[in-house]
């Protein structure tokens, strides 16, 4: 037994590799089955484009550098309609340009993954310093009412893992999934052990089980997610960004518009329990809990460890899903802690949500930094000590 364990550990050490966050993202995408990538260079996301250009042809995939970010996401959606798992990556200014097609993918229900490696904005901003300023844009950047899934990694391994999950969710719900990384997580290097493909669960978009003449392209099979045949497989149907009826044809009839909108929202709102992804540390007896995500969660972890060493009962809730906001998970913390501290590298995007779901029992404190430098463990620790009851 002991020998087996040693062998296993040895094997694990051999599998350990040093990867940059952006490289890990590509590894995750390829493992998830991504076979089409369209992108446009922009720091700090460029490495994803570069590594994709190198690796995709080796696995029979297609890489293309498009003329801009609008075109990149357009090509990604086209490839996805033709049946390929597809992705693009960008940073703030490019993410702004992609909003048009994020909305299209929501409306036409086309699975795709969009990585936004956040840098400090607005506009061209600070190339290239970290930020978390795109959290609200990821939620509401494209026009019109819509639901969206946004994931946020805080380590190189999580960037790998959440890229796979982003593909799974986009396939499961037939909608764009946004991976909101930041410059620190994207550019830092960590030694990680990648799982083998057999240990990873891969989801594919639902396929029709009926012949083409019976298939209703935008009908609700009960899950809210209609089966999605690829172009060229005999299921000829119409795809549009206009409001459409069950066949995909444009409509302005209010009953059809309303039922489409309700179904689009139901895909996520009926599945919230499956989207509570977080890590919690020392939260059971915490008087103050830090709620953080992305690179700030790393500083939060360090601050909490140091505070614990000093005898302070503090904990950390690290969010991996930012949208839909994990109301149930956060409410549990709000019920058990006296105070919650939300450090963010923006003026308070997630702290607004925490305040929104707070029932008044918990004091919500914020720590916001918008100067392009990371929030440090010392800054969080200092605040914790200051406000500790």
């Amino acid at each position: 037994m002991k020998k087996d364990k040693e062998k296993e550990q040895k094997q694990e050490e051999q599998n350990r590799i040093l990867l940059q966050g952006n490289e890990a993202c590509v590894r995750g995408a390829l493992m998830a089955g991504c076979r089409f990538y369209a992108g446009y260079p922009i720091t700090p996301a460029t490495e994803i484009t570069e590594v994709m250009a190198r690796e995709l042809p080796k696995v029979g995939g297609v890489f293309i550098q498009m003329e801009d970010e609008i075109a990149s996401l357009g090509a990604v959606i086209g490839a996805s309609l033709a049946g390929a798992k597809s992705m693009t990556a960008t940073s703030g200014p490019g993410f702004s340009l992609m909003q048009e097609h994020i909305g299209y993918a929501c409306m036409a229900e086309v699975p795709c993954v969009v990585v936004d490696v956040m840098r400090a904005g607005p506009s061209t901003g600070l190339p290239t310093q970290p930020s978390q300023g795109d959290v609200m844009q990821a939620r509401w950047g494209t026009h019109g009412d819509h639901s969206i899934v946004v994931l946020s990694p805080s380590s190189v391994y999580e960037f790998f893992e959440l890229t796979i999950q982003a593909f799974n969710l986009s396939e499961r719900y037939r909608m764009p999934t946004i991976l909101l990384a930041d410059q620190i997580v994207a550019h830092m290097r960590e030694g990680i052990v990648l799982p083998s493909k057999e240990d990873i669960e891969i989801e594919d978009r639902p396929q029709p089980t009926v012949p083409p003449e019976w298939h209703i392209p935008y009908g609700d099979p009960g899950t809210g997610v209609p089966p999605m045949p690829a172009f060229g497989e005999g299921y000829r149907y119409h795809v549009t960004g206009l409001h459409h009826d069950l066949r995909g044809y444009p409509t302005t009839r209010k009953e059809e518009v309303e039922s489409l909108m309700r179904r689009l929202f139901s895909k996520i709102s009926n599945d919230l329990e499956r989207l509570q992804w977080f890590d919690s540390f020392y939260t059971e007896d915490a008087v103050i809990t830090v709620i953080a995500y992305g690179c700030v969660a790393r500083a939060g972890m360090q601050a909490v460890k140091e505070a614990r060493a000093k005898g302070l009962k503090v904990g950390l809730l690290k969010l991996k899903v930012l949208w839909p906001f994990m109301r149930r998970t956060v409410t549990t913390i709000l019920d058990s802690s006296q105070k919650v501290l939300v450090p963010e590298m923006n003026v308070g995007h997630i702290s607004r949500e925490v305040k929104r779901v707070n029932q008044g029992n918990c004091e919500i404190l914020t720590l916001n930094k918008i100067d392009g430098t990371p929030i440090t463990p010392a800054e969080i620790l200092e605040t914790l000590e200051e406000v500790y009851p």
Binding site: G60, A71, G78, L81, A82, F231, R236, P250
Partner: protein, 275 residues
């Protein structure tokens, strides 16, 4: 008539709610008929044809026909088409765009698609006006023309769409009007069968808006105008600049060979990759 009836039953969607949205006398219907006619003549399977459009009057074309159809965002049809063709090379990918759609908001995509040479047959239906939004001037509206957004006359010069796309590197470029139906058929067939990026500029009448500023009140008058103001490529060679002023040169403007993007991808797959 019998042929038309065959085409209607085979290619128009029986489940679609007709009538179509185009104004009576619009040139887009003539193009749609020609496109279906040629697709039928070539004999593509309906399952293998993907029709992609942007936004505007022309953007509504795909919904009526029984192919894999995709109505995208304004100006971006070619970007979606690029993704489809690269992900599934066996599909016949066709884009339909308007002049405001394909040349103004989509101008960047147009020149890059021509340069990149993905095998897409693209058609720009040029009616020289933004029809769907109510007759504003487009990048192909003639200088001085009065439109709803140039009430004192268009201060800008018009794009020569075909020359633009030819300069950008398209392997096939043709121009016709919807009046010249034989040429229209011939150019559609050449574009569809071209191994490379092909673009055909189809001059079509917008009776409702463009007709108003041209002072042409009926579709017939506008088509007579197309007839009288067009010169074939062959004939144009014999004419000097003054004689050609204000004329539209129609015919095959470019036809050349270059490796397609798909061929480049295949090349990558078959060779040992070393960075």
């Amino acid at each position: 008539m019998r042929e038309t009836s065959h085409l209607v039953h085979k290619y128009l969607r029986p489940t679609m709610r007709f009538p179509h949205i185009w104004c009576p006398g619009c040139g887009i219907g003539i193009f749609m008929h020609a496109l279906i006619r040629i697709i039928d003549r070539i004999g593509y399977s309906k399952d293998d044809v993907v029709l992609v459009s942007g936004i505007g009057c022309s953007g509504r074309l795909p919904v009526y026909v029984d192919f894999n159809t995709l109505h995208t965002t304004h100006g971006r049809a070619l970007t979606f088409a690029t993704g489809i063709k690269l992900a599934k090379p066996r599909l016949k990918v066709i884009t339909i765009m308007g002049d405001g759609d394909g040349v103004s908001i989509g101008g960047n995509h147009l020149i890059h698609a021509a340069r990149r040479n993905v095998e897409i047959a693209s058609f720009i239906i040029n009616n020289q006006v933004y029809g769907m939004t109510g007759g504003q001037c487009s990048p192909t509206t003639p200088y001085g023309a009065r439109t709803t957004s140039s009430p004192y006359g268009n201060p800008e010069a018009a794009f020569d769409v075909s020359r633009l796309v030819e300069a950008a590197g398209a392997t096939f470029v043709g121009r016709t009007t919807v009046y010249h139906t034989t040429l229209l058929d011939r150019l559609i067939e050449k574009a569809l069968t071209k191994n490379g990026f092909a673009m055909v500029e189809v001059i079509a009448q917008c009776v409702t808006y463009a007709g108003r500023w041209l002072g042409l009140a009926s579709p017939a008058e506008m088509m007579a105008w197309q007839r009288d103001n067009s010169v074939t490529v062959e004939k144009a060679k014999e004419l000097n600049e003054t004689e050609l002023a204000g004329k539209t040169i129609i015919g095959v403007l470019a036809d050349r060979e270059r490796p397609t993007y798909n061929e480049e991808c295949t090349k990558l797959r078959t060779q040992e990759l070393k960075v």
